[in-house]
């Protein structure tokens, strides 16, 4: 008897789950953010990130709820690697959250598919928002006029701007008696190699090298060298793949030579990002990229001093770096567009929100005046935080695939680059061979975009 009633309960449960899901499907025209019975309004905010972000946003949201009585915000946090899938699924299922993160590379497709609410009017009419005090790069990343990204209507506000700068181990330089790199004038490539070679050595005398110059991950550090050497991935119209230029090939070859010719990195077998990150943390590397989101960790985990400098400059003599970003957008079918856009303001441009994020040390404040204070605060390493602001305002680039419909053409380059890094193929051969295929992917992406319009 017991068994039977257990089965009945199970069956009931199953049925109710099925019916529930059927209801969820049926009520799909009505987007989320529904009014509950007692007249209270609820907004959903979907994002990804760690506890620090959740806590900081909690503060901004508290303030928002205080100013807007009767409105509650429901936070939906996902793991970083599941966010894109989850958001796509909710869009396909007509359950778009009211407010959510978007990546710059998805702006084109989301706008064409009418997923995003145009925020321009709201942003321009809101007296609390001073666009002059927010990074231009950040806002422009989410502008789109239907043809060119960077112009036209604003479809999201920047959650952050993430300049990817270069750090060096100050303690290691001092111990070796080397002159510290200048924080304003970038090194030339030759100077960079010389410094690295001087620091790649066996420190404990067991015949094995245990201190290296560097160990960059090609996915994240090739771009600055290409740009500063006068090359690029795309031409100005963003329609032609230009990786087959001599400047590009030279930069890629130089990157591969770090390992194969100059021998300033851990050997081929060991060249895994995870490892080089660990090595940097353990003080085995002289140079390593340092981004704003690393600062809190490095502050507590590193037992050496470090600082940031511009990337070494190639032929052009100018340093280059990329700036990452995430945006916060509003779903087009939200029931409460005014409240949702107001929430975006609290999350991206209000002083409370930015102060909380800045205190958590996970990003540069979006507000320029606050960022200047942040950079001048010398209680927190690195000393030259000013470099980050210079990247954002002066010499930073967007990542190459940010402004194309999809990133297949770009990923193809990195998926197949290994033989060059291993020294089995020259960079010149590789770029010549890969360009037509990348172009094909890019043309395909443009064709897909036409179909989606």
């Amino acid at each position: 008897m017991k068994k039977k009633s257990y089965r009945i309960v199970t069956a009931l449960l199953l049925i109710s789950i099925l019916l529930l899901s059927a209801c969820a499907g049926g009520g799909s025209e009505k987007a989320s953010g529904s009014k509950s019975d007692d007249g209270k309004k609820e907004l959903t905010f979907m994002f990804r990130g760690g506890e620090a972000e959740e806590e900081a946003y909690g503060k901004a949201i508290d303030k928002f709820e205080e100013e807007n009585p009767g409105v509650t915000v429901k936070m939906i946090v996902t793991a970083a690697d599941q966010y894109a899938t989850k958001l796509k699924a909710s869009i396909t299922g007509n359950q778009v959250p009211d407010v959510f993160y978007i990546e710059p590379g998805t702006v084109r497709s989301y706008v064409h598919s009418n997923v995003l609410l145009d925020l321009t009017e709201y942003v321009e009419n809101n007296e609390n928002i001073n666009l002059d005090n927010i990074w231009k790069f950040g806002v422009d990343t989410y502008r789109f006029d239907g043809e060119t990204q960077g112009k036209g209507s604003i479809y999201a506000m920047p959650k952050d701007v993430g300049p990817f700068s270069l750090g060096y181990n100050k303690t290691m330089f001092e111990e070796a008696g080397l002159e510290l790199p200048d924080k304003d004038t970038p090194m030339t490539w030759d100077e960079f190699i010389k410094a690295n070679q001087a620091l790649t050595k066996d420190t404990d005398g067991d015949g094995k090298i245990d201190q290296y110059g560097t160990g960059f991950n090609v996915n994240w550090v090739l771009q600055p060298f290409v740009w500063s050497n006068g090359g690029d991935f795309l031409d100005e119209t963003q329609t032609k793949v230009t990786v087959d230029t001599p400047e590009f090939a030279e930069a890629l070859q130089w990157f591969a030579d770090h390992q194969n010719v100059y021998e300033i990195t851990p050997s081929i077998e060991d060249a895994q990002t995870l490892d080089t990150y660990q090595r940097w943390m353990q003080g085995q590397l002289a140079f390593f990229p340092v981004a704003p989101w690393d600062l809190a960790t490095f502050d507590t985990e590193l037992d050496f001093e470090y600082d940031v400098i511009p990337y070494p400059a190639g032929k052009t003599g100018e340093s280059a770096a990329w700036i990452g970003s995430l945006g916060i957008a509003v779903g087009q079918n939200t029931e409460h567009p005014d409240l949702a856009t107001e929430l975006v303001y609290y999350l991206t441009a209000s002083e409370e929100g930015q102060q909380a994020l800045s205190d958590a040390r996970i990003q540069i404040p979006n507000l320029k005046d606050m960022a200047a204070e942040w950079a001048a605060d010398d209680t927190m390493a690195p000393e030259n935080k000013e470099e980050y602001l210079q990247i954002v305002e002066e010499y930073g680039h967007a990542l190459p695939a940010n402004n194309t419909y999809n990133a297949e053409w770009y990923d193809y380059f990195f998926t197949n680059v290994q033989p060059v890094l291993d020294g089995d193929k020259t960079a010149a051969e590789y770029v010549k061979e890969i360009q037509p295929k990348m172009q094909e992917f890019l043309d395909n992406a443009r064709q897909l975009e036409e179909q989606a319009k």
């Binding site: 069956a11 019916l19 059927a22 990923d411």
Partner: protein
């Protein structure tokens, strides 16, 4: 929602009482049967509805989607067989299909090892229960957690695998970063993960083999290998057949470990499986329509392979009475 629950309750509750009284009150029997069949209907309904909503509808939908250009967000445009034509010239599809097939080489190896383990654990030696538990732990662990663990084990510098190899004097490669070792690395993990499950089924099959066969064979002077070949192997054949089929279907759908251990599909796309490629196309590269085409083709391949296996099995099957 609420009303549905109450209704079901009303229907079911009297049955419980009725079953107590059914013997005594003969007249009510037909009514009881009616009610019982209604209850049975509800039991059948739940998996049926589940099948319709979560299997059949998506299945038919993806067949339709496979003939469209669709980015997964906006409207679908019918393009006929364009996607299918494109499939034939798609370099990545070829590579990922090859990778998937290559990694299936691990299936017979895994079955062989688990059969041997099962035979070992089938003897009356102390500690067999402990070993069964040890081999079964990977089966009940989350695949994602296992993938993360093995990612560390395969690490070129600090990984357990290479540390072990260095003890016996071999300088191990950086398993997941080398296009020649990444597939074997994933295979080894899959074998390890599946070992416990196959072993358990084999163990159950072995224990149901009547002792008398072995005794008779021994009396006739058959040696250990002959006993294995002529008694054990044929007797566990249905289990082997079941395991081969489920393993091939599972192998064709390999995704999680690839996605976690080599998030970009490995150097030169050397570890990307078909499902991984489908997922990338659908969710990263805005080609849900084309991804559906690949899913349909993959489904067809699995169907055909399974059909062939059933035919082969029919031909070589036999009955013992």
């Amino acid at each position: 929602m609420e009303t549905a629950k109450v209704e079901v309750n009303k229907n079911l509750q009297p049955n419980v009482d009725a079953s107590k009284n059914s013997k005594r009150v003969k007249k009510k029997k037909s009514n009881f049967y009616k009610k019982e069949s209604r209850a049975a209907l509800i039991f059948i309904l739940s998996p049926l509805i589940g099948y319709l909503i979560f299997t059949l509808y998506p299945f038919l939908f993806s067949i339709y989607a496979s003939f469209t250009a669709w980015n997964g967000l906006g409207s679908m445009n019918f393009v006929g067989i364009d996607n299918y034509v494109k499939l034939f010239t798609d370099d990545y599809f070829g590579r990922s299909l090859f990778n998937t097939l290559f990694m299936m080489v691990g299936i017979p190896i895994g079955l062989l090892v688990s059969l041997m383990l099962a035979m070992g654990l089938n003897r009356k030696i102390p500690g067999t229960t402990t070993f069964r538990v040890i081999y079964y732990i990977p089966v009940i662990s989350s695949l994602a957690a296992i993938s993360v663990l093995w990612q560390w084990a395969y690490n070129g510098d600090y990984g357990l695998v290479n540390q072990f190899l260095s003890v016996i004097g071999i300088d191990g490669p950086n398993w997941l970063q080398n296009k020649d070792t990444v597939k074997p690395a994933l295979m080894i993990m899959a074998i390890w993960k599946g070992l416990g499950f196959s072993m358990l089924l084999y163990l159950a099959a072995l224990q149901s083999v009547p002792r008398i066969y072995y005794e008779a064979a021994e009396l006739d002077g058959a040696n250990a290998f002959q006993r294995f070949k002529n008694i054990t192997w044929p007797m566990v054949k249905p289990v082997t057949f079941f395991l081969v089929i489920t393993n091939i279907i599972g192998g064709a759908q390999m995704f999680t470990e690839v996605n976690i251990m080599t998030p970009t599909g490995g150097p030169e796309y050397s570890s990307a499986t078909v499902v991984f490629y489908i997922w990338q196309k659908a969710f990263n590269n805005l080609q849900m329509g084309y991804a559906s085409t690949m899913s349909v083709v993959l489904g067809l391949i699995i169907f055909i392979v399974t059909l062939i296996q059933f035919k082969l099995n029919d031909r070589s099957s036999f009955e013992i009475d």
